[in-house]
């Protein structure tokens, strides 16, 4: 194996600034959407007193989950000692930070009182998993920053393994914490499951890797840097395995739920008669988000073509957003069992009359906020790779692979 | 009017004159100093637009410092960022009515006072604990750091610990600015406020004869502000052109 050199991202200035300009426009539009929501109040969104978390939370939780997943590539290099992945560590750490920051920013901007962020930083209720998560998120940023430092500063290299291990353990706890935000809600049948935390971890593996692959392929291709088929082949196989694992977890989750009679109504809602949530589950999450990508990734020809890998990664991401929509919003739309053995005939507050789903129709500003978050993550990543040495000068097979013939 | 108020009024007028005149003379000097040679540090931009971009990155992000020493950059940039935010908030003491953006960002920007102080402490630690830097540090280097730390600390204390009468402070400065001495209120006498105002006066007075002149100076550094076009266009200083004719 040759020594890996890193170099700033050097695409031509007009192209680089053009990219940033496009992202800035998206951010500006998202900014206006946020100002609109803050100025008018949440009534301009589709969120209401029944479905209290909407599309911004779908995006935010997806990004936060993907952030911890993006760090796995680095962990493969440091914690699991796979040399071939070591050169990918810097971008992995960077993406982990930018994705997490963007996800958190979406959450903060959706608050009813975003200007009171300082309250959230100074007043804690330690019984709340949310409050713990604030620590987990800040700790994650600090640890990953330190991790990046050990990767990029020769003098700090002796801490590389230790910090890497800490970062990996921390990210597992962090995703568990994110999953637990829902898992701890005993009141709602869709959330009250210990399975959610491990499922979130395996989902993070796949979504983080899919985003990582796309960013890696885009930045390398745009500048004409070499990206070896062998390395790419390994990453895409890994993605295939992660997606298969989600499939397994989803299967087990619903099977265990189906075993208990108390969950039958919720299962019927998600799997059979939940309208948009059922469609998103089967078409968005299962078919497009898992089955098709698996077929592509494991296909001998398609799976080794760059187009195939890009398509599969995009589908995994779309499937991930659909999954979040089903979990976050579907879980709220399913009426709460306030009167388990009774049917609600009338209600002064839409309690799900006769078991009907609660209403939520997302609004444009919510989508703009979510998309703005994605644009921010990409924008910061692109600026960072241009300013600092995050990207290896070459990832050609003869450079990265110790066993290359 | 109390003795303190009269003293501060006189000091602030004097300090402002010294600052403005001193800075103007310095800038004039920089302006007139010829750059006899084409010496931009490469890689350098080859167009004026490129130079503007380079200066922008230099002034806003301290690019060349970033490339040389990361720690110095980190603390230096933190300090300047905090200073900018804090100064922006201070606009409210001089404007009537106050700009809406100043009011909006004030609650957030006040926490950047900590960035400013942490940055300064980092820079101080560098002068104290890095042998090579300590060796080349002059007393004036420390003076500037202590002055700024003093200003930052007293200011942060009045913001976060014991408040002062901000209305009186603003009114005092507005009266000074408008040369209206009839209804001028007294400057608050809390020690923190007196110290803060006193240190700022000292800073204003020493500014034109100190290393802080790097603020205007950065725009005049030939290694940064020159276009890299020695072959396309002959570089010649004014005095040299006269000699040639």
């Amino acid at each position: 194996m040759k020594k890996i050199y890193y170099r700033e991202w050097g695409i031509e200035s007009p192209r680089y600034w053009g990219l940033l300009a496009v992202l800035t426009v998206i951010l500006a539009v998202a900014g206006f959407a946020v100002l609109h929501m803050e100025h008018e109040g949440h009534w301009v969104t589709g969120m209401n007193n029944e479905v209290v978390w909407g599309v911004p939370h779908v995006f935010a939780i997806f990004l936060i989950v993907a952030a911890s997943g993006a760090l796995n590539v680095a962990a493969l290099g440091s914690v699991f000692g796979k040399h071939i992945y070591k050169s990918l560590g810097r971008l992995s750490g960077l993406l982990a930070m930018t994705l997490l920051l963007s996800g958190l920013l979406i959450l903060v901007l959706d608050l009813g009182q975003p200007s009171r962020l300082i309250v959230a930083m100074t007043t804690y209720n330690f019984k709340s998993i949310f409050a713990w998560n604030i620590y987990l998120y800040v700790g994650f940023l600090v640890i990953v920053a330190a991790y990046l430092f050990t990767m990029m500063e020769r003098k700090a290299q002796r801490f590389y393994k230790g910090v890497g291990l800490l970062a990996f353990v921390w990210r597992l706890i962090l995703t568990t914490g994110t999953g637990s935000i829902f898992g701890f809600i005993v009141a709602r049948p869709g959330y009250d499951a210990a399975m959610l935390a491990p499922m979130f971890i395996i989902m993070s593996f796949a979504y983080g890797l899919a985003i990582y692959l796309l960013v890696l392929m885009f930045t390398f291709d745009a500048e004409g840097r070499a990206l070896g088929d062998k390395l790419l082949g390994r990453l895409k196989s890994l993605l295939g395995i992660f997606v298969s694992a989600i499939f397994y977890f989803v299967l087990v989750y619903h099977l265990t739920n189906l075993y208990g009679t108390e969950n039958h109504e919720y299962e019927a809602f998600i799997l059979l008669n939940g309208g948009i949530y059922t469609t998103l589950f089967w078409v968005g999450w299962v078919l497009l988000g898992m089955l098709v990508p698996m077929a592509i990734l494991f296909h001998p020809a398609l799976g080794n073509s760059r187009g195939g890998i890009i398509a599969a990664s995009l589908l995994v991401i779309l499937g991930g957003l659909a999954a979040m929509y089903v979990i976050v919003i579907g879980g709220q739309a399913f009426p709460m069992p306030i009167f388990p053995d009774k049917i609600i005939l009338e209600s002064g507050f839409q309690d799900g009359i006769g078991g009907a789903a609660l209403y939520y129709s997302p609004s444009l500003p919510e989508f703009l906020l979510g998309i703005g978050g994605v644009a921010l993550a990409l924008g910061v990543t692109l600026v960072a790779v241009r300013m600092l040495k995050f990207l290896p000068a070459s990832l050609a097979d003869e450079v990265v692979d110790p066993h290359h013939g | 009017m109390s003795f303190l108020t009269v003293t501060f009024a006189a000091l602030y007028y004097a300090a402002t004159v010294l600052l403005v005149v001193g800075l103007a003379r310095r800038i004039r000097l920089y302006w007139k100093t010829p750059a006899p040679l084409k010496i931009p540090t490469t890689p350098a931009p080859t167009s004026t637009g490129g130079v503007v971009m380079r200066m922008f990155r230099e002034v806003v992000f301290f690019e060349s410092l970033f490339k040389s020493t990361k720690w110095t950059w980190l603390f230096g940039w933190l300090f300047h960022l905090g200073l900018f935010a804090v100064l922006f908030r201070h606009l409210r003491y001089f404007q009537e009515p106050v700009w809406a953006p100043v009011v909006w960002v004030s609650p957030l920007f006040k926490y950047l006072a900590f960035a400013m102080i942490i940055g300064l402490l980092g820079l101080l630690a560098r002068r104290l604990f890095v042998d090579r830097v300590r060796y080349i540090s002059a007393p004036s280097d420390f003076l500037m750091l202590f002055l700024l730390i003093g200003i930052g600390a007293t200011g942060a204390l009045t913001t976060f610990v014991t408040h002062t009468d901000v209305v009186a402070v603003k009114s005092f400065f507005r009266h000074l600015m408008t040369f209206n001495f009839d209804t001028m209120p007294n400057v608050p006498t809390d020690p923190l406020m007196v110290a803060h105002l006193g240190l700022v006066v000292v800073l204003m007075i020493v500014f034109p004869i100190s290393k802080l002149l790097h603020a205007p100076g950065v725009f005049f550094s030939p290694t940064r502000n020159q276009v890299d076009n020695p072959r396309e266009q002959r570089h010649i200083a004014d005095w040299a052109r006269k000699l040639e004719q």
């Binding site: 109040g41 975003p114 209720n125 009141a187 009167f339 053995d341 609600i344 | -």
Partner: protein, 253 residues
């Protein structure tokens, strides 16, 4: 008498105090009757625990007196649909502290009506999940929101098993002194906490119920009507499976 007071208040709110001659009695509180007690000077203690007993057998179908009384007491009737919102949106986005629900038993088909509000749990899930501690349980058992520290994350609304909480989705123009309210915070039934603190008896909903279906009182006092009534006959908690030990109990469902 109560009608007259109410009219007075409405008038005031609509014209913002045109009739200014009357003096202000207690700063900022709306007094329904001349209070016998002084405003509270000592911290509340857990010697009392306030609660409600709702007898659904007495609750009349189609009656919503408790809801309108609550709306008036707590200023919810002062809110209007924002310009541009549809009626359906507003119905889902406006705050509601108490609502009537009509349920049918799946086995027997028995139909009952009941008012539903914050159940003032002893172990409230909303308090557990609140990141800033804005959701809290007062020593006297009232579960409330400290709106000064509420950041509007709505996690408590996710966690509440009774959907008892509302988020303020719009700018608020007119506010009552006793019940401050602003955009971006969560709120719910406070068991008329201002009445508790100014020594005024009852809750708006209990006072308004002509059928005597709502009984308000101190659950810790062995001699209170509510304790006696609870001892006398069987009663249930909603979602008893969650073991929240609610302060609001139901009879007849």
């Amino acid at each position: 008498m109560s009608e007259k007071i109410d009219q007075n208040r409405r008038e005031f709110v609509s014209v913002a105090g045109k009739a200014a001659a009357a003096s202000v009695v207690a700063p900022g509180v709306l007094l329904h009757s001349i209070a016998h007690a002084e405003p509270r000077a000592e911290p509340v203690t857990d010697a009392v625990r306030y609660g409600l007993l709702i007898d659904t057998t007495k609750c009349a179908d189609g009656c919503s007196d408790c809801v309108s009384a609550c709306d008036k007491e707590n200023g919810l009737d002062l809110l209007g649909k924002p310009d541009g919102a549809t009626d359906e949106d507003w119905a889902r986005q406006k705050p509601r502290w108490i609502r009537t629900v009509k349920v049918k038993d799946r086995l027997s088909g028995h139909v009952s009506s009941l008012p539903l509000m914050c159940q003032h749990c002893e172990h409230p899930p909303c308090v557990d999940v609140c990141p800033t501690g804005a959701s809290f349980r007062r020593a006297d058992g009232i579960v409330m929101v400290d709106r000064h520290t509420c950041i509007g994350c709505r996690y408590c609304m996710m966690a509440c098993p009774y959907k008892a909480r509302s988020f303020i989705h719009e700018n608020i123009k007119v506010k009552l002194s006793a019940v401050p309210r602003g955009k971006g915070c969560v709120e719910s039934c406070t068991l008329c906490v201002h009445r508790r603190d100014y020594g005024v008896a009852g809750t708006a909903c209990a006072d308004a119920c002509e059928h005597g279906a709502i009984l308000f009182g101190d659950l810790n006092d062995p001699n209170s009507d509510i304790t006696k009534a609870l001892q006398e006959r069987n009663h249930t908690q909603l979602r008893a499976d969650l073991k929240l030990n609610t302060g609001v109990r139901y009879r007849g469902i």
